[in-house]
Each structure stands twice: as C-alpha cells, then as structure tokens.
Amino acid sequence: MFQRILIANRGEIALRVIRTAREMGIECVTVFSEADAHSLHTRMGHVAVPLGGRLPSESYLVADKILKAAKETGAQAIHPGYGFLSENAAFARAVVDAGLAWIGPPPHAIEVMGDKIESRRAMLAAGVPLVPGLTDPVADADAAVAAAKGIGYPIMIKAAAGGGGKGIRIVRDPGEMKSAFRTASGEAQSAFGDGRLYLERYLDEPRHIEVQVMFDQHGGAVHYGERECSIQRRHQKLLEESPGPIVDAELRAQMGEVALRAGRAVGYQGAGTVEFLYSKGEFFFLEMNTRLQVEHPITEMVTGVDLVRDQLEVAAGRPLARTQDEITWRGHAIEVRINAEDVNAGFLPATGTIRNLRLPGGPWVRVDSCMYRGLEVGLNYDPMLAKIIVWGEDRATAIERMRRALEELNVGGVRTSAPAALAVLAEPAFRAGEYTTHFLEALDLKGRVGAQERLVAAISAVHRRAMASRRALGADAGDRRGWQARSRAALSDHVRLATNPGGQA
C-alpha cells in the first residue's frame, strides 16, 4: 500500500480522502491555493504545499505545480477527487509518466468516456442500451414516420441547430407526425435559419439513476447498486438517495450488469459511475463519470463499504476485497448538498463569511463538510460547502431523519440550499417516491410561506432593539455579556423563563 499520497483537490472531497487515508495509516500531501491557506483540508493533511494563486486556473488546475509538489514531497500516488483535473486524461497520463500511481481509471478510459460520440460508439458495440434515435437528420415527414418505427413512440423532433426549446415537438402517435414535422421545421428555419430535424425517442417521466462500479487491475469488477439523482436543477443535483425508490432487486442486478459491461468495454479500472436515464421500465446509458462522485456516501451508507478505501486498494494493485455476492444492501440513505445559494432569490450564488455554525448530529447523521468559523465563501470555487447524509431502516425513516438533520443545521453568514431540500422532503410526490428529473424545477420555492411569520417579526424587532442598545453602550460594544445583561434587564418579565434561571451572563 502507498505510504504517502497527494490529494489534488480541496473542500469536502479532499477531507473525505484524508479521513480514509489517515485510517489506513497513509500520509496525505495536500495542496492549497492562496484562498485556502486556512481550509480544513490544508490543516488536516500531513504535509501542505502552497500552489499560489486564488483562481483554480492558477492553482488546482495547474498540472505542473501539482506534479512538482508530488515529486518534492515523495508522494507515490495522486488522488484527484472530483472536478478539477479528475477527468483530465492528459493529466492522468502525466501522472503515470512521472512514475506515480493514478488513483483513477486509465487515461484511455477517461478519454473515451469523456467524448460523447466515441463513448456512444463504444457502448453501442458493447450492447449497452442507448436512447434510440437517428444520427442523421430526416428529409421529410414521411421519412420521419418510416424512421419512427425503428425508434419507438413517443418521438421527440429536435432542430439540428436547436436550443432554447425552439423547434422541438413531442409526437406520441404516427398520425401527429406530419403536422408536428411541418411546424417544427418552420420554427427551426425561422429561429436558426436551418430547418433540419433529428428524431429521438422521447423519454416520459425520466429519472436519473446511476450505478457505482469498481474494477481492479486483475479483471475483477463489482457494482454497489444504484443511486437515484433526479432531484436536480439545471443538471445540478440537490438531493440523492439509495436505493432508488422504484428499483427492485431484479432491476438492480440488470443495471449493475449493464454498468459493468460499459466499464469493461473501455478497459476500466478504479471507481466509476455509469449514469442511466430511466423511463417506464427501460433504462438507457447517459454517460460514465470516470471518478469518485459527490454522492458516493449514500452508497457507502447502505452497503457498509468505504469506497475510498476500495479505490486506494485497487489503485495500489490489490484485487477487489469482495465479490459481488458479498455486497449487500441495508436500509435507505439520502444525501443533501449544502450549497452557498440563496433559495429565496432563485438560487443565486451566495457569498459571505461563516460566522456561526451548528451542524446536525446524533444517530445515523453523517456530515461531510469543509465549513469552519471564519471560512470566506467566494465565487472562485464550487458552491458546495457540505453534504448531509442520513441513513434509516427504510425510506420513510430516512426522509424524517433528513428533515430533522436539516432543521438542526445552521450556517450563519452565508445562505444555503438547505431550505430547498426541506421543501422537497415535504412534497407528497417526493415522499411517495414519484418524481422525475423535472420535479425540482417545477417546484415553486418562492411562494412558500413560513408558519412562524408573526413570531419572526417580533424576534426581529426585539433583536434590532438589543443591537441598538449594544451599539449605544459604545465602549462595551465587544462585550456581549454586558449587552446581554442589559437586554435581560429590559426584558425581565418575559425573559424570566428563558434567561433568569440560567443566569448565563
């Protein structure tokens, strides 16, 4: 096993890797940008190397700096986390060429899977199902009707030059094809100056379901079951769960088998995720993520497997520690991403300094977080600050536990996506497991009325008054105790319950 690895990442994923490495007795070299000099990942590793620069393009994306750091510190392998250089085949190749182990798939596998056309070709050859459709435009409505037979209804007509929903029609029946083709073609012509149309199967009620796989260097491969990630907005996932609410043992085995086939077709090694679009009993290959994913913890919670440990072991050349039969699933896990976003302002990115932090705890609540008091949240990096993961005996328990955990969470100083996740958890359709990839975008979050509005108005006024008193005390401004005592005196009657007994000033 490696004695020392370099983690070419930041934030919660760098810390995630550090934790398992520490448990395995492996030393971690961390790298950090100027903005991350005090970050948890910088502090929690064994050796920290400054990369300089505040932007990713000056630090975490500079392959040479990272390779230099690895050489100088004697790291034997590089873990790329997710994002940044994790799916950069050239970097992977440079790592291997430098004589270091790459904790990820072979560069060729990254390349093939990173290319839409090449990966479709490889999957087709391997017998992995793809969304049926034509690769060339159709000439006219009659040709479309003929081609549709081989694709299957409903059919989506898409403009070749398309975008913004223009030139798109859904055809559910051959009789509708003619008129739909005509209007779509006209719309495309006038919008883009190009009337050519493609045909593709339209997936009703699409769900994003993905399968976690792991391949060793000796031909061994296992899958760890699926994750459902349909709760997303602009392709950004907010909440994931495992197992998928509509996946039974049979479908799990089928999807797992197809996912392994997809990996084998490109000579995969290490951890990866095969993403599928599921619709009404059928599933189709979407893409393969050739790295560890943000949402890997829910798979860990239900299988009991430390995926980072497995990843490190296969990268070090060891055979997989377990066979497919030894992987079992227990209960249900949910993850919510805590992003720096202002839900009330339509998910605008939020910035600020974390002044105050209350993380949830207790039974079956896992917190993977890079937050600490004093953290400045800016715009240079991914807005994800933490992930809350819960496990429950069953889905209903996991949902209630996540609600409870999010109610305990408080991030003072920066707005987060937590209220949106709470709204999702409260929706009857979500609770019934009946949701699609359209769910979150269709959810009206702005219109939500909190139940405590009168109380909040009163608290705000009393708080405002207390702040003014504190300011009025001038020299004592920094002395919260003095202010508290004053506030208490002013509020003595009401406060008797709350503070007089405590006398905590």
Binding site: P349, N356, A458, D493, L497, A498
Partner: protein
Amino acid sequence: MKYFVEINGRPHEVELTERLGVLSVKVDGEPLDLAYSEVDGLGQFFVLSEGRSYAVSIDGEASELGVTIAGALYDVHIEDERERAAGAAERAAAKQGGLVKSVMPGVVVEICVEVGQEVEAGQPLLILEAMKMQNELVAPHGGRIQSIHAQAGQAVAMGAKLIQIASLEAPE
C-alpha cells in the same frame, strides 16, 4: 417604538413598549408573549413564546436580517419609525425610477440596453455571470435608461451600481 418588518415581502408592524423595565410586544396589533436571549455571541438565540421554545439563528446586520427557525429561513427587512420616515420620502421620489444594483458579485457578460432607451418593467437590462451561471437582471419598473455604470467583461462587486433608470412621468 414601532418597527416595520417585511418578511419574504409581506409587511408586519411590531410595537415594543417598555414599562417598568418590562417589554411588551405587539405584532400587527395583537400581543405576543416573547422571551429572547443570546446563547453564544455568534448568532444563536433562544426564544420562548406562547409556551413553545425555539432555537433561533439570526444573521445579517442593520435592516437586512436572515432569521432561521428549524431550517426555515425568513428574509427580513426591518425599519424603525425614524428610518421609515426618512425612507418614505426617498421611496416616493424613486417610485418610478431608480438604481439597479448588482445582486451578487460576478462578471458582466452583456449589457442589453443603451442610454436613453425606454424600458418596461421586467425587461432584461444586463446579464451577469457568477459561478458559471448566467443571470438576467431585469428592470424593476418602467422608465428611461439614464446612465450605465458597467461594461461587458467587467467584474462587479455585490451591490455595485449598474444602471440608473429615470421615471418617465416625473423626470427629476
């Protein structure tokens, strides 16, 4: 003292009266029993009201607060009587005109209007990119573009002046 509180856009009036060292609270004319105390000096508060207890977090300064109770975030705008009086005149003047500021730090991708152009409420004024997402800033009300304080490609801070719209009916 009276406070004018807007929560998620809805207005409330809170009256605090101190008598013999005791503070009573009225919200929209109805009394509310409330005990408030600070816990950690960092933003955690404990509130008892009408027989129930609340772990409250308060965040923000001056007139813009974020109050969180059990994960539910309330966006609060608060003014006392003096601020209200001062602000009222200003608001009246700006009723059909005003300044569009950047709602977040980012980079201006495109300016969609020109000085002198008439705009309607809701019309896109410029596109701001932050964290790889593009966001349209729209006119809060109709008017004529009076001045533009940014240009495409420029990085702007949160709250930066971007575009000034003048009222059509009551030019100043």
